[in-house]
């Protein structure tokens, strides 16, 4: 039975901005609206199968994270764009999210390293670093236990350092 009425409206109104922000940050605003629609459609249809534990936000994040896997190529391309475009060019980029004041060599290199992470690790990275999810919420969104998330986050930090250290210098960004 599909969730309807005020409960459905409340679920949408309370969380659409957060879900849209999460998705737009990862794959850009152009695709985000469609994916948000898919997230809430699945949420309304599957609300009876929702785990008893957890929050609405975590559950919606789980659906969004699963749907974002279909856009892994797009996400990695955006992260690579961060690394290949100069900061000046990024400020004039078509995607307004890429025109970030924090753009520059360290950020670009870190983003490129993120693109090389395992998809689940990349989910955990952005759920915690950008969406400020607790290990429990990030675990809810990825199907992992909170303890496993904490452990993997430690490994992610090490892996990012390793990837950054091994990336070749970009002469254009280095000036």
């Amino acid at each position: 039975m599909t969730l309807t009425g005020p409960a459905a409206a409340r679920l949408y109104d309370d969380h659409v901005d957060a879900i849209y922000g999460y998705i737009a940050r990862r794959i850009g605003p152009d695709l985000a609206v469609d994916v948000v629609g898919d997230v809430f459609e699945q949420a309304l249809k599957a609300h009876e199968r929702r785990p008893a534990k957890g929050t609405d936000r975590g559950w919606l994040m789980a659906i969004a994270t699963a749907l974002l896997r279909r856009h892994g190529t797009t996400e990695c391309a955006r992260l690579e764009t961060w690394s290949t475009e100069s900061a000046d060019a990024l400020h004039g980029a078509t995607d307004p999210l890429l025109a970030n004041p924090a753009s520059g060599r360290p950020t670009a290199t870190a983003m490129a390293a993120a693109a090389e992470l395992d998809p689940v690790d990349r989910d955990l990275l952005f759920l915690t670093a950008w969406e400020h999810c607790s290990p429990g919420e990030a675990g809810e969104a990825t199907g992992l236990a909170a303890a496993v998330v904490r452990s993997r986050l430690g490994n992610i930090r090490k892996e990012l350092k390793r990837l950054v250290a091994h990336r070749p210098a970009d002469p254009e960004l280095d000036g």
């Binding site: 969730l3 309807t4 005020p6 901005d17 629609g37 390293a113």
Partner: protein, 391 residues
């Protein structure tokens, strides 16, 4: 700063979802829920104006076409005097509404288009369903809700020269200190109209709006656009107003008529794009549950017509004769509907195509209403509404 912290610091700031996309998604989800409840199946939820959305719309149109052909076939067959079951109808309509499948040589009346049921069909303009809403998913060009003005009331009058003049009062808002008598910006001397019985005429705007400071509130008199200030009708009207312990008594002179009167009510507006004569026209509809024609008719010059068989009033734009507006009632809900390059029949067709709904349904489809009222800043007790008599 390690790479994790660098990425954390580079968190993109995402502007909110565009309101129109947010609303369309909401409507799509509402439609899914509705279809689910009625077992019509779920449409593909996509955002408007996207490649995927367009593909889905094309598919939906194709499906509608198939259903439409089936429906036409059924429609054509059901009126025929025949003992043969309609070939396509059985697959497209419920069994309870289908034609008889047993041989029948007696002329039968056409079956009802709606399955016989004990469920009451919602009536528009009632306490249960005071609003008319678009059917299903229809992108809207405009969507606003204006809550009632605290203690406000309106009166819409027709002067002997058939011009329309409206009066609005608001309770007890602290008036600005009265300006000293003098001249306005245009150099016109501002007379004080019977201050001992009406109030102080403070200012006029463009010769058509007269603000009157009364002891416990404000009073605005709005004349026809482009009128000469202090034309005889206005002076006659102002002279007919008396205050009696807060009641605004209007003793209408001979030849005046009342189009509507009543308190301020919530106003629900949407702009509905419709195809009329192969043109897309946006029809604006404002609804006032338990409202009145005075609040619906602000700013128009109204003449009586018949709309959907009921008495109503029409106003034509002075600068664009093709732009018309109509005010009237559907049940207890006052409405104002208008568009450019349409005629009254077009507007009637639009209203007929809407479905009854309530405020909860509006909220479910379009979002929460704005706060109920402004903070109560009245400085004295609520002022009674207009009391109108004819001389």
């Amino acid at each position: 700063m390690n790479p994790y912290q660098t990425i954390e610091a580079a968190r993109p700031s995402v502007p909110p979802m565009p309101p129109i996309a947010r609303r369309h998604l909401r409507e799509h989800l509402f439609e899914i829920a509705t279809r689910s409840q009625t077992s019509l199946g779920d449409p593909n939820v996509t955002a408007p104006n996207t490649a995927r959305g367009n593909a889905a719309r094309l598919a939906a149109l194709a499906l509608l076409g198939v259903v439409g052909v089936g429906g036409l076939a059924y429609s054509a067959s059901r009126g025929a005097e025949t003992n043969v079951a309609a070939p396509n109808a059985a697959t497209t309509v419920p069994v309870t509404t289908g034609p008889p499948t047993t041989p029948n040589t007696v002329l039968q009346p056409p079956p009802p288009t709606i399955a016989p049921t004990t469920t009451e069909v919602p009536e528009p303009g009632t306490e249960a369903t005071p609003l008319l809403l678009p059917v299903g998913r229809q992108p809207l060009d405009e969507l606003t809700v204006v809550r009632r003005s605290l203690g406000g009331a309106s009166l819409l009058l027709r002067a002997p020269d058939l011009s329309t003049i409206s009066i609005h009062e608001a309770d007890g808002i602290q008036p600005e200190p009265p300006a000293p008598p003098g001249t306005d910006e245009a150099g016109i001397t501002i007379p004080v109209v019977q201050p001992q019985v009406v109030g102080t005429l403070e200012v006029i705007h463009d010769g058509t709006i007269y603000d009157v400071a009364v002891p416990c509130g404000t009073l605005h008199v709005r004349d026809r656009d482009g009128s000469i200030p202090y034309r005889p009708e206005i002076v006659s009207l102002l002279s007919s107003i008396r205050l009696d312990r807060g009641t605004i008594n209007v003793a209408l002179p001979a030849g005046w008529g009342v189009i509507g009167a009543g308190p301020s009510t919530d106003a629900f507006t949407f702009g509905l794009p419709v195809d009329i004569a192969e043109r897309e026209v946006t029809v604006s509809l404002t609804q006032y549950p338990d409202g009145n024609l005075a609040i619906a008719g602000v700013g128009g010059q109204w003449s009586p017509i018949t709309f959907l068989g009921q008495p109503a009033w029409i106003s034509r734009d002075a600068d664009d004769a093709t732009e018309i507006e109509v005010i009237g009632f559907v049940g207890t809900t006052a409405f104002r509907i208008g568009a450019r390059a349409v005629d009254v029949a077009d507007l009637e067709a639009v209203v007929t195509g809407l479905e009854p709904g309530d405020v909860d349904e509006w909220i479910t489809r379009f979002g929460e209403l704005p706060p109920a009222t402004d903070p109560d800043i009245r400085i004295c007790q609520a002022q009674p509404e207009f009391a109108v008599t004819s001389v």
